[in-house]
């Protein structure tokens, strides 16, 4: 197991480097001169030169690349091109909101999706199964941000149960602000988790070792929840890991719907303001999340499935 963890950790290094490289070069093909974009069409040429110098844009590409790598790896992204605020601070303010939203949504997705998926598999072809089918179809077709708009309309604007905008002040208020966005992403994720759990459990229930468990005299609920579900969870865990990232990217749109502070709001704000350094930093942080979540998923799977770590 230790060997597997080490091996998996080492694999992360080239991935991170590659991702950083991609982000760097992707942004170099962004059309327009960032200095002009930041200072405006009619800025004085010497102001533009000073700006380029300050950001290192007059350096050769390889120097910029290494400077960028150093920035990304130390987490020191310099200052926003537009308002001069340290990007590190902006990210630090935004991150907790995004992480809280992604985690809350994931918790809702698992709490609803797993049991519902297990029930639909056990009562295959029954009423619960039909409901699950309908739920999945809606979940797979309703865009999360549109669902957010509908929830906002119903529960904030008309019923006034939840606050409309922002992230909230103080713990309880923040929690209050978190509810609707988290439900938005959580229910969509629940549909996915449900379908995955259902198909995985149905597959496992056909296996011989499930019959072995019954043949030992194991009670039916334990056959399902101990012997079958544990095996069914292996593909479900992988799937949820992948989906956690989908939820994370979903926070971008949902933050916009609920005018909630966060990484997505920051990134999209950076894009529309053509704040090159901010966009670069935002993309690096998202990419970093992708790598970390993939790593965590693999390690979690190894913990559930004794066969993985030995490969």
């Amino acid at each position: 197991m230790t060997g597997y963890i080490l091996r998996r950790l080492l694999e992360v290094v080239p991935t991170i480097l590659l991702v950083l490289t991609l982000v760097f070069f992707a942004l170099r093909i962004m059309p327009g001169d960032p200095a002009v974009a930041a200072l405006g069409e009619f800025a004085a040429p010497d102001a533009i030169d000073r700006f380029r110098e300050k950001l290192g844009l007059n350096q050769p590409l390889y120097a910029q690349y290494f400077a960028f790598l150093a920035q990304a790896l130390t987490g020191n992204f310099g200052n926003s091109m537009n308002n001069g605020a340290p990007i590190g601070d902006l990210l630090a303010q935004a991150l907790p909101y995004t992480i809280a939203l992604a985690l809350a949504a994931t918790a809702i997705g698992i709490a609803i999706g797993l049991p519902l998926g297990a029930m639909t598999a056990v009562h295959r072809g029954g009423k619960i199964d039909a409901f699950g089918r309908f739920f999945a179809l809606i979940g797979f077709s309703l865009p999360d941000f549109y669902f957010g708009v509908l929830l906002l309309l119903a529960f904030s604007l008309h019923l006034d149960w939840f606050p409309m905008l922002g992230g909230g002040k103080g713990f309880l208020d923040q929690l209050h602000h978190l509810v609707l966005p988290a439900i938005t992403l959580g229910l969509v994720m629940a549909a996915f988790v449900m379908r995955l759990t259902r198909s995985s459990l149905l597959e496992v229930l056909k296996r011989d070792y499930v019959r072995t468990a019954r043949g030992k005299g194991v009670a039916e609920h334990l056959v399902i929840f101990k012997h079958a579900l544990r095996n069914a969870l292996i593909p479900v865990t992988t799937g949820m890991g992948i989906y956690l990232l989908t939820t994370l990217s979903g926070t971008i749109t949902v933050e916009l719907v609920f005018s909630r502070p966060g990484l997505g709001t920051l990134l999209i704000g950076g894009v529309s303001a053509r704040d090159y350094t901010l966009v670069q930093a935002g993309l690096v942080v998202f990419a970093f999340f992708v790598v970390v979540v993939n790593l965590a998923t693999d390690l979690l799977c190894a913990a559930i499935d004794p066969r993985i770590a030995l490969r």
Binding site: L137, F140, S249, V271
Partner: protein, 271 residues
């Protein structure tokens, strides 16, 4: 399953076709010019004159939804097609040739795959700057590794069939074998994937243009209609509501086609 698969395919397929036709012929179907503003009739709910109401500029929402469909469905269908065209070839070559080609292609598509489509789309659209073209490129790139992986694994299965060896022995070239023997044999799963990914692409396009990274106003797309509608959700929720419903129905239709086709090809695994 209670509803026969053929029926679902027909409903989903018919609905998809209807949506495409409505979008394609919107200039003739739409009652009004989607860009025509009139402050006198701004922010109206559905009326006899404006079935879907009007937006903040007094523009007819029904006409905008129809014209928006042109943009949204065009991107939603064009991008996966482009992606499929490139991805299927790359995947078939990787699966057929193996070795370095395979390692290079599958490593890089694995890396791209580790990014959720929306995040990848946002990254690319952000890098390229918001426009119709960058939305197409962003979505095509986001889906590309998925086509590569699918056609690669399907090709690897076909590659082991004896008739491939027979063709090689008969002196057929790689391109000809791939085209004549591999492609027809992997077409089934690819068609299923294509229709499911059209659904994904429509959703992606909507999200991108909602974020302001897709087609630019004043030209309507479903996503930017919701974006515009957000500014006055209290006074006039109709543009956002109808645009969102249009997205949902389109995604639903293509998902139904994909699901039904998959069940048809592989009755065991379907939901």
């Amino acid at each position: 399953m209670n509803v026969p698969i053929g029926k679902l395919t027909a409903i989903g397929g018919g609905l998809s076709l209807l949506l495409i036709l409505l979008a394609a012929f919107s200039p003739w179907i739409a009652p009004l010019d989607p860009l025509d503003q009139s402050f006198l009739t701004a922010n109206q709910g559905p009326t006899a004159e404006h079935w879907f109401g009007t937006d903040a500029f007094g523009r007819d929402v029904l006409s905008r939804v129809l014209f928006g469909g042109r943009v949204s469905l065009a991107i939603g269908i064009l991008a996966p097609l482009l992606s499929a065209l490139a991805g299927i070839w790359a995947g078939m070559l990787a699966g057929y040739l193996g070795g370095w080609t395979d390692r290079l292609l599958s490593r890089s598509s694995d890396l791209l795959m580790s990014f959720p489509t929306l995040l990848l789309g946002v990254m690319i659209a952000a890098a390229l700057g918001p426009s119709f073209q960058s939305a197409v490129i962003a979505i095509a790139v986001a889906l590309f590794p998925r086509f590569v992986r699918l056609s690669r694994s399907a090709t690897q299965v076909v590659r082991r069939e004896p008739f491939i060896d027979a063709s090689i022995a008969a002196g057929r070239g790689t391109a000809s074998i791939v085209l004549r023997h591999v492609l027809p044999n992997i077409a089934g799963p690819l068609v299923v994937a294509l229709s499911l990914w059209i659904a994904t692409a429509i959703r992606l396009e909507a999200a991108l243009s909602f974020l302001g990274l897709g087609a630019q106003p004043p030209a309507p797309s479903w996503g930017n209609m919701i974006r515009d509608g957000m500014s006055d959700l209290v006074g006039d929720p109709w543009p956002a509501a109808f645009a969102g419903a249009a997205i949902t129905i389109s995604v639903l239709a293509f998902n139904m086609v994909g699901d039904a086709l998959r069940d048809l090809l592989d009755p065991e695994t379907g939901l």
